[in-house]
C-alpha cells in the first residue's frame, strides 16, 4: 500500500483494491494500450498492488515509440535539406534514428523547429513562402484530427510549400494483431480514454465479441485505472466479453463525429509498420489520394529509405508486452533517458522511461 496515500481519494482506492482482491479468483492478465495509463500504473505502483499473480501487460501505447526507424531516417533526410523548415512535436526530437536524431541535426545547423500544434506549422508556411515547411505527423487517433485539419487548412489557403510526413497508427488493429499472436497471454484490455473520446468505442465491439475479451474504456487517473481493471476482472470472472465505458466523464459511444469526418476526408486507412513489431494490416492512416500533393515522402523522394534497429535494444518485446524494461541488459546502464537506445526510453509516454522515472531497477 506504499503509494496509496498519494491518491486523490485513498479511501476509495483501498475499497476498489479490496473489491478487486475479493473478485479475482485467477491470475488474470490485462493489457493497457496508452502511454499515459502505463505511466500512472507504474508511477503509482498499481501494477504491484494487484491480487497475487494478476498482471498488467504494457502494450504499444506510445506513439513516439512505435514510429518506425525508417520513418525517422526519412525525417532526418528531409530535415537536413537547406530549403526545408522541419517541424515536429517536441517529443520526436530526441528519438534516435539509425545514425543521429533531429535534435543533433538541429545543433549542426538544420532548421528543425518544435511546434505546439500542426496549425502552427501551417502558419509558418504562410509566413515563409520561399521555404518548404514539413510537419512530422505522428500519433494515434488523438492527434489525427489536428493533423487532418492542418492539411485542410493548407489546401484552403492554396499552400504549395507545406507537406506532412505521415506515420499515423490506429489502436484497434494493434489490439487485433496482439490477440492474433499465437503466444498471446492478454485476457482483457483497457482501451485508451482519449483515443475513444475521438473515435468512440463501436470499433471495439466486434473485437470483444470475436475474441471473447472484455474491453473497458478507461481514463488515466489512478482511480480510473483501478476501476477499469475491476470492471474487466468482473467480466472475466462472469465469463462476459463486452465493451464497457469507465470514462463516461469524457467519452461517448459515437465519439467526436466532427473530428472523425475530418480524419475520413484527409486520410485513408493503410497498412503501417510499427517500430519493433512489424507491419500490421490496416493499422495506420496515410493521405487520401485527393491530398497526396501534401505527402512529404513523395515531395522529397524518400520512399526508398530502409533501416535496421540497434542490436542491444529489445523495444519490440517491450512494446508487445513479452518483456518488461528491467529484463533488458541495457536498461539503466547503456540506455537511459539521456542516452536512449530505443524509443520507449525517450518519450514520457514510453514504458522504459516510465520504469526509469519511477526508480525501478533490474
Amino acid at each position: 500500500m506504499k503509494y496509496l496515500d498519494e491518491y486523490r481519494d485513498p479511501v476509495l482506492a483501498r475499497r476498489l483494491l479490496a473489491e478487486l482482491r475479493a473478485t479475482a479468483t485467477r491470475p488474470w492478465a490485462l493489457m493497457e494500450v496508452c502511454g499515459g495509463q502505463t505511466h500512472t500504473l507504474v508511477r503509482q505502483g498499481i501494477d504491484e498492488l494487484l491480487p497475487a499473480g494478476m498482471r498488467m501487460i504494457h502494450g504499444p501505447g506510445c506513439p513516439v515509440c512505435v514510429t518506425p526507424l525508417e520513418l525517422l531516417d526519412k525525417a532526418l533526410r528531409i530535415a537536413e535539406r537547406p530549403d526545408v523548415i522541419f517541424t515536429s512535436f517536441g517529443d520526436m526530437l530526441r528519438v534516435p534514428g539509425s545514425r543521429t536524431d533531429l535534435l543533433a541535426l538541429k545543433a549542426r545547423g538544420a532548421d528543425v523547429r518544435v511546434v505546439y500544434s500542426p496549425i502552427d506549422a501551417v502558419r509558418l508556411a504562410q509566413r515563409e513562402p520561399d521555404r518548404q515547411v514539413v510537419f512530422f505527423a505522428v500519433g494515434f487517433e488523438t492527434t489525427a484530427p489536428a493533423n487532418a485539419m492542418a492539411v485542410l487548412r493548407a489546401a484552403d489557403l492554396g499552400l504549395t510549400n507545406f507537406s506532412i510526413l505521415v506515420s499515423h497508427v490506429l489502436v484497434p488493429p494493434a489490439i487485433t494483431a496482439i490477440l492474433d499472436a499465437p503466444d498471446c497471454e492478454v485476457q482483457g484490455f483497457l482501451a485508451a480514454g482519449h483515443v475513444c473520446a475521438v473515435m468512440g468505442w463501436t470499433e471495439y465491439e466486434p473485437i470483444a465479441a470475436r475474441y471473447r475479451v472484455p474491453i473497458v474504456v478507461t481514463g488515466f487517473e489512478p482511480l480510473d485505472l483501478l476501476e477499469g481493471i475491476l470492471l474487466a476482472v468482473r467480466q472475466l470472472e462472469a465469463g462476459h466479453a463486452t465493451v464497457e465505458n469507465q470514462y463516461a466523464r469524457a467519452v461517448r459511444r459515437s465519439g467526436n463525429t466532427e473530428a472523425q469526418d475530418a480524419i475520413r476526408r484527409v486520410f485513408r486507412v493503410t497498412d503501417r509498420a510499427w517500430r519493433g513489431i512489424g507491419t500490421i494490416p490496416t493499422s495506420g492512416l496515410g493521405l487520401a489520394d485527393e491530398y497526396a500533393e501534401f505527402d512529404a515522402e513523395r515531395r522529397f523522394d524518400v520512399l526508398d529509405i530502409r533501416a535496421a534497429e540497434h542490436p542491444d535494444c529489445i523495444a519490440g518485446r517491450i512494446l508487445t508486452g513479452s518483456a518488461v524494461p528491467t529484463d533488458c541488459a541495457a536498461y539503466g546502464a547503456a540506455c537511459t533517458p539521456r542516452t536512449p537506445l530505443g524509443a520507449p526510453m525517450v518519450s514520457t509516454e514510453g514504458t522504459c522511461a516510465a520504469f526509469f522515472s519511477a526508480g525501478r531497477t533490474r
Binding site: 499515459g36 517529443d91 518544435v114 488523438t142 482519449h194
Partner: protein, 88 residues
C-alpha cells in the same frame, strides 16, 4: 504528444477556422475549437496538440491537471512549458 490536457476557454474567435484561447492552469494557448462547436466561453475542454476534442466539467479538468502534474515532463512536453506553481 498523445496526452490530452484540460483547460478553460477564455476567448472564442470565429473565422475560417474557429479558434480560441484556452487557459491551462495559468498557461494560455491558441486552441482550435472546430471539433467542439458546442463549447462556449467558460467551458472546459480536453486539448490534444492544440485541438479541443471533448468537453468535460470543471472538477474533471482540475483532477486531470493534478495527475498530469505528477507525470515528469508531461505538461511541459505537451504545452512547451511547465505549469506555474500552485495553480489549480
Amino acid at each position: 504528444m498523445c496526452l490530452g490536457i484540460p483547460g478553460r476557454i477564455t476567448e472564442i474567435t470565429d473565422g475560417d477556422l474557429t479558434m480560441g484561447i484556452v487557459d491551462f492552469g495559468g498557461i494560455r494557448k491558441d486552441v482550435c475549437l472546430a471539433y467542439t462547436p458546442e463549447a462556449a466561453i467558460g467551458d472546459y475542454v480536453i486539448v490534444h496538440v492544440g485541438f479541443a476534442i471533448t468537453t468535460v466539467d470543471q472538477e474533471e479538468a482540475h483532477r486531470t491537471l493534478e495527475v498530469l502534474r505528477a507525470m515528469d515532463g508531461a505538461i511541459e512536453g505537451e504545452l512547451g512549458e511547465p505549469l506555474p506553481e500552485g495553480s489549480p
